[in-house]
């Protein structure tokens, strides 16, 4: 069981769908872009989402959460993906809070997770460095023992919702060379920490991101998340889970793009008929649909595997990300092509989706990267 939604899950999904439809038109993302908003989302809407319990979904009940699973999270994120909803679920819950949830001490969980669950604090995960492509182990950023704690130095890039986060979990090296798998550690840094600077980045795919610079940021011993020097596996686990969430968003991205395209095929007339009568377009639309259905199965498969702690869950995460990456790009490209000239205009929403999908494709590893990881896991 698990690949078909239960009644409760369906209810959660349809309420998320209603919420997104009523509260979050795509025009909001466009407006945030055009107004150069540094936060990149609406704190008021985030509070409403928190009231619905969304940031609490994955957080255990003893930390103030709802203790639900990835299938539930995916239900909500898919609906968010339908309208490119910019609120920081992925960054706060699936990246930042997950690092604490999966690797933190009980003290860290108790102090950090309840405010996340209730929506009063946001988090981010600073793990990527410029030029590392998808390599998760590269960290030139370092942490050294200093007096009563640690001193962090270095630079992270593309930190999702980094500019607005209250706490940033940072990967820094405590031993080894820049790209060693061993020697990575995780620290949680508060936003006001002296020496921490956060500079918003403008991204093609309209996700709020930031460069995080650490110039001798001092943190206490209690800021270390998990074991010193052993954060690589923890980071993989966190990124895997975030990947499933991202895939769910991509599913939503695809659905809306595809609906838009189908709609266009049914209304746009050329040669005296609607263009949806042309088999050259029909067959391509059918193929995109097939990709969408396969993507849905892959996302549910991965989410279920994580919820059940299945031993092939990592492989299934790669299956999902590879599939969704390829499918989303196809769906976007075909969408633009079938829209003809209008699809190339900024005014039309399809371009926003295409950019978002391509950006998501290049987040947490693209299809080829995941195929290679999958092959390695399967021993070939």
């Amino acid at each position: 069981m698990g690949l078909v939604l239960t009644e409760d899950q369906q209810m959660l999904k349809s309420s998320a769908s209603d919420f997104v439809r009523n509260e979050s038109p795509v025009s909001r993302v466009r407006h945030l872009r055009d107004s150069d908003d540094p936060v990149g989302y609406s704190p008021e809407l985030w509070a409403k989402m928190a009231a619905l319990g969304w940031p609490a979904i994955l957080i255990p009940e003893d930390c103030g959460g709802l203790g639900m699973g990835y299938v539930e999270m995916a239900c909500v994120l898919e609906e968010c993906g339908r309208a490119l909803v910019p609120e920081p679920l992925l960054s706060t819950v699936l990246l930042g809070a997950n690092a604490i949830l999966l690797g933190g001490s009980s003290e860290q969980k108790k102090t950090l997770l309840p405010p996340v669950a209730e929506g009063s604090r946001t988090m981010a995960l600073a793990w990527q460095e410029k030029g590392a492509r998808y390599d998760r182990t590269v960290s030139a950023a370092r942490a050294e023992k200093s007096g009563s704690g640690w001193r962090l130095r270095g630079e992270k890039t593309l930190v999702l919702d980094g500019a607005s986060a209250d706490h940033i979990v940072v990967i820094a090296r405590t031993a080894g060379a820049d790209s060693d798998r061993e020697g990575l550690s995780m620290f949680v840094v508060d936003r006001g920490a002296p020496g921490l600077s956060v500079v918003p980045q403008k991204t093609m795919h309209l996700r709020a991101a930031a460069v995080v610079r650490l110039s001798d940021v001092e943190v206490p011993v209690s800021a270390l998340v998990g074991e010193q020097g052993n954060a690589a596996a923890l980071l993989d686990d966190v990124l895997d889970r975030a990947t499933v969430g991202l895939c769910a968003e991509m599913l939503g991205n695809m659905r809306t793009t595809f609906e838009m395209t189908l709609d266009y095929l049914k209304t746009r007339k050329q040669f005296g008929v609607v263009i949806g009568t042309f088999q050259a377009l029909k067959h391509r639309a059918a193929k995109v649909f097939v990709e969408l259905e396969l993507s849905r199965s892959a996302v549910l498969g991965a989410a279920t595997a994580i919820d059940q702690g299945a031993k092939d869950s990592r492989a299934l995460v790669s299956v999902a990300k590879a599939r969704c990456s390829d499918a989303a790009v196809l769906c976007g490209y075909e969408g633009i092509q079938m829209h003809g000239g209008i699809g190339m205009t900024d005014e039309h929403d399809i371009g926003l989706y295409v950019k978002r999908m391509r950006g998501n494709e290049m987040t947490f590893g693209d299809a080829a990267w995941h195929r290679d990881r999958f092959a390695a896991m399967q021993g070939f």
Partner: protein, 401 residues
């Protein structure tokens, strides 16, 4: 819970004791068309290997050639859960299926669904015992994708019908005892309405069969000529003029059979094993050629996605949800995937895939080559990929004609 565990233990013990060694995959290393090593049943079957027949009889005696069919019809009367256990236990010892063919996968399910009691009692038990082999007489020279354009005519005279026409691409008609066939019985009606679904005894004067060889060299399909062939009225399924409904239902069984067939592919890592052997591996077992590794990884993932989608559909069906649009994608996707898989395998073998017979080539190599050629037909038989895409575009996406 306890019951099913007992069932598993008993099944395991029985299979262990009753499945002959040669009826387990891997026992004989390639060298022939796998389909020809399995039992198709029927009066013309010769059973080159006597254990094939033994295995069939033993399984049939328990109704396990058709595990979920009701016992009175020759089946095993197993619940879905028990059938799953049986399948798992068979897979565990890599048992070959005791019987394959269109009786079990196509006409049987249709009769269960739409046949009358007499038809069920008459035909189903002999299907389960492998006594009668069936073939499918749908396609005609002028009616392939446009199946409803068929011209074979049936005229009634009291309790019998006289049939005239020609069928084509009738797989294994030369080995079959009975054929299910679509016949035009009402000539003035719109083309989908005047069709009737009939069961024809092939062993009669008016039926002639001429084999046609496939590009793979294997499994001839045939031209089937019907000249004043006779069909008893009682062998009409679903009533006069309801043939198109029957045809579509049966095509549903056929398409799911075709897509499931690839899902059962028993050597999951066949591509990996071949790549390691023919292309080489690095220390640690990684395939030496990165581009090839990527292709294999992609196909393996594709297959996983297909399996998950099949599983999703089955779960939904179990919960009583209508089969969703996912189901229409299987025939298309599974067959395209199988074409890719067999093609990649041949590519991995390289020059060793050039063999057709005999000297210098292993049986498995020749199998790979012929399977690749046979697979070209996967996206044609049972409705072409283009036709599947038309169906998706029209029925699922609502795109206009």
């Amino acid at each position: 819970m306890g019951d099913i565990e007992t069932f598993r233990q008993e099944t395991r013990a029985w299979l262990e004791a009753n499945c002959p060694a040669s009826m387990r995959f891997g026992a004989n290393a390639g060298g022939g068309n796998l389909a020809d090593e399995l039992a198709w049943g029927g009066r013309k079957e010769t059973y080159a290997n006597p254990e094939t027949k033994l295995w069939l009889d033993r399984m049939a005696s328990r109704g396990w050639t058709a595990p979920t069919w009701p016992k009175p019809y020759g089946g095993g009367g197993l619940s879905r859960e028990e059938a799953k256990v049986l399948a798992e236990e068979m897979r565990r010892i890599r048992a070959k299926p005791p019987l394959i063919g269109f009786g079990l996968t196509m006409i049987g399910p249709l009769l269960l669904q739409s046949g009358n009691e007499e038809q069920k009692l008459r035909f189903l038990p002999e299907i389960c015992r492998g006594e009668v082999r069936w073939c499918q007489g749908y396609s005609e020279p002028g009616a392939g994708s446009d199946l409803a354009g068929l011209q074979t005519r049936g005229v009634r005279d009291g309790d019998t019908w006289t049939i005239n026409g020609q069928k084509v691409w009738t797989s294994y008609a030369d080995k079959a005892d009975w054929m299910f066939v679509l016949v035009r019985t009402e000539f003035e009606k719109p083309k989908h309405e005047g069709i009737t679904f009939m069961l024809i005894d092939m062993d009669q004067p008016g039926v002639t069969v001429k084999p046609i060889k496939l590009i793979s060299g294997y499994s001839p399909f045939c031209e089937t000529f019907l000249e004043d062939a006779r069909v008893d009225h009682e062998n009409i399924v679903g009533g006069i003029g309801n043939g198109w409904t029957m045809a579509k239902a049966l095509l549903g069984h056929e398409r799911s059979m075709i897509s499931e067939a690839f899902n059962e592919s028993e050597e999951r890592n066949e591509l990996v094993a071949a790549a390691r052997r023919y292309v080489g591996q690095e220390n640690g077992g990684r395939i030496r050629d990165g581009a090839l590794r990527d292709r294999i990884s992609q196909l393996t993932m594709d297959k996983t996605c297909l399996e998950l989608t099949l599983k999703r559909t089955k779960e939904a069906a179990k919960l009583g949800q209508q089969p969703g649009p996912e189901s229409s994608i299987f025939k298309y996707y599974a067959t395209e995937l199988n074409k890719e898989r067999t093609s990649l395998l041949v590519g991995i073998l390289g020059p060793q895939a050039l063999g057709w017979d005999g000297e210098g080539f292993e049986g498995a190599e020749i199998d790979a080559t012929r399977s690749w050629l046979r697979a070209r037909g996967n996206s044609i038989e049972g409705g072409t990929s283009e036709v599947q895409l038309n169906i998706i575009a029209k029925r699922v996406l609502g795109l206009p004609d």
